[in-house]
Every structure is written in C-alpha cells, then in structure tokens.
Amino acid sequence: MKDRYDVLVIGAGPAGSIAAKTAAEKGLDVLLIEKRQEIGDPVRCAEGVSKEYLKKHVEIDKRWICADLNASYIYAPDGTKIEMAEEISGGEVGYVLERKVFDRALAEQAANAGAEVRVKTRATGLIIEDGSVKGARLMHLGKTYDVRAGIVIGADGVESKVGRWAGIDTSLKPIDMETCAQYLIAGENIDQHHCEFYIGNEIAPGGYIWIFPKGEGKANVGIGVLGSKTGKFKPRPVDYLNKFMEKKFPDARIVEMVFGGVPVSGSIEKTSTNGLMLIGDAARQSDPITGGGILNAMDAGKLAGEAAYEAISAGDVSLQKLEEVYEKPWRTTLGHDIDMSLIVKNCFINLSDEDLNSLAYSLKDVKFERMSLLDLLQALFKANKKLLWDLRVLFKDAAKEVVKNKM
C-alpha cells in the first residue's frame, strides 16, 4: 500500500468496485479497500436484478447466475394473484445472482483495470485539511495507515460512516429503512423460473416477503419490514419470516441466514463535499419501493469513476465541481427514478389490507404481457381513486414520456 493515490474507494460492494474499475480504466491510480476479509461475504441481499440493466454494466457470466426468471407473481393479503411477465415487472426480476461470486468478480475487474485492492482494510476516519477531504486513516491487521488521495469515494454501504465523518448526515430514520431477514432454503424443489412477492400488513408491515429461486431447487425466502412498523415490543423481521416459513415451507432446510437493512429514504440532500463523493447504499441510492440497490449502486459507481477523472484532470475537486460532474448527472438519471419510487412507497405504506386486496383484484385480469400504461391506469382508476390521486405525479411524468416517445 502506498501513501498516496489519485482515488481512494472505501468499500468493495458493487458501487465501489465499479467506481474503482471506471477510474482505473481512465488511467487514474486507484486504491480500493474492503474491511471484510472476504469480498461479498456475508451476503446481505436477495440477489435479484433486471437482465437488461445488468447487461449495461457487465458481460453476463454464468458463474454468478443462479436463476433466470421470466415472470413474477404478486400475492395480495387475501391470496389474489397478479401475474407479471418479464418485460414489465420492473427492475427487480431477471436474474438471481450469487453475490459472493458476483461481488468478487467485480472487484477482480477493478484489479484487472489496474486498481490496487486491499481486503481486511477498514477506514476508521478521514484526513480533512482546509475544509477538504484529503484521504483516510485505514486499519489493516491491527496497524494504522494514513493514505492520501486526490478524491475519496465513500462506497461503504448501509452502515456508511464516510459521509458522516465529512459532515454529511446520512443517518436514516426507522421509517427510512427496511429491516430484513432471509433464509436460503433447500429441499423444497422450488420452481426456478418465477419469483413471488407477498404483501400485507399482517405478514410484512410496510414491506413484503419475497421468494427468489437460487438454482437447484433452492430459494432465497426473505422479508423486509419498515423500520417504523417493527421494534422492541413488536415482532421482528425474523419473527415474521419464521411465521411465514411455518405456513409455507414447514419442512424446508435453512442452509444460510441473512440479515440486513435497506435504505428506502429516497434521495438525500447531499452526496458530495470537497474531495468526496458518496455512492450506492452509502448515498442512500437504493430504490424506496423495491429495496433494490445493486444496479443503482453500479450506475452511481460508474458516474463517480468518470466524475473523479474529470475533476482530477481539471485539477478541481471542490464541491462545486463535484456537483457539476457527479451530483447533477446522478440526480437527473437514477435520482429521478428514486424520487418517483418514493412517491409510490409513501402511498403504499399507508394502504390497508382491504385496499391492497381491491387493488390486486382489479389488476388480476389485466393482460400484463401486453400491458400499456393506459390499461394499468384504467385498472387502477377503477380500483382506487384515492390511490390515483396520491400517485398523480407519476402519471404526469408517464404522460410526458408518452408524448416524448411519440415525437
């Protein structure tokens, strides 16, 4: 490890590895550090990603694909089933990854592009001089190192400290975090071509239960519960999950346990400061409605890698510059989608089980393979006028899209 780099990336999840790879490919001298001794392990993810989006970032490698999905089923509290074919089911269906292998492959790609990678190396604080981030203090095998860098990229996930050290308060309120538990189950011979979602205030308040096939008859069965709807005197995610397991898979073998938190706050106010950018879960860029964050993290990583190059080439890593080369590009692209999802989330978490049932019932017969936005609008309108009102911003936006595409 040297004592100076162009770019120091903290955290080797999808966000950090893509940022490091992008910056290294541009010829910058990059150090990527990861506090765990094994990248990608333990997993904190259900591992579902959209095929199309993933292909934008990496070539598909079957070593880290566990299942290839072509449909998803959503079950309302009363059991009403909505079936969605691949094209329109949104960002979270497509492949189910093996993140232990996937995350490592991304870090290897960063290394192959020229970045130095250090595991079991934890950032414990930032070096800040004249109001600008100039590097970080690292700990590796009990020894402390000061490493300076032209730009620091905080990709340290849900537990991010990097932003806070620089004065950006990224702490989440309970209502802004889905708290999760998941089992990898075997011995149930689960269908490997579709995933399932179960919604309802009884089974997963403010969140949902998912079943994602994981290859060879196995599946990730997990739950996210909104932080504000669980707590000390209420059931925990793990309690809800156990209840669901008892009913649905009483004989399943649990071969892995996963816990975690997903930010569902929507865009936060600030994700950069002088000499520093935050990306991925550290910047709270996961999707507020689905909790999906892998692809957003990769998008942000790419933008930040490019931004680092622009800023360093220009000899200007000030907040002003980073606002231009990083903040603005991410907010107008993935930030926009996040904002839209936040509107849906705020509406969704207040729906009663009856609302959810009636909504599902009205969507039941919509031909989702050929669904147009108008079909969906019509169905929604029949089901719940209040909902339509709450979501009006989305439709305004969608209408704009339609107009744009026609021109």
Partner: protein, 58 residues
C-alpha cells in the same frame, strides 16, 4: 444508561449502524462496537435490529 449487544445473536448486518443518529455504532467485521460516550440511549438501533440483538436501557 447503557446499551448491550448480544454478539451471540447479532447477524452483523450493519442496520443499526445506519440508523444511529449519533454515529455511535460501528460494524467492525463480524462484531459491533458501541462508543458509550456518544450513545444517547435513544433506542433506535434496538428498534431496527432484525433479530433483536440490542438492548438499550435508559
């Protein structure tokens, strides 16, 4: 005022770290450390923990 983390129950997921308003918690590798001098015993970490490994006493 004190906070106890049951390390035999903790799944080292980092959710508590993300919600602590004081930045008092840190996930080191497979364990969680709390800086008792900055912790204000607000109990948010206890509320968010998916397994209930944290106990905050006011």
């Amino acid at each position: 005022m004190s906070i106890k983390i049951n390390r035999y129950k903790c799944g080292y997921c980092g959710a508590c770290v993300g919600v602590c308003p004081k930045g008092a918690i840190e996930l080191v590798e497979t364990w969680v450390e709390v800086d008792e001098s900055t912790c204000v015993a607000c109990g948010i970490c206890d509320r968010i923990c998916p397994v209930g490994a944290i106990e905050v006493m006011k």
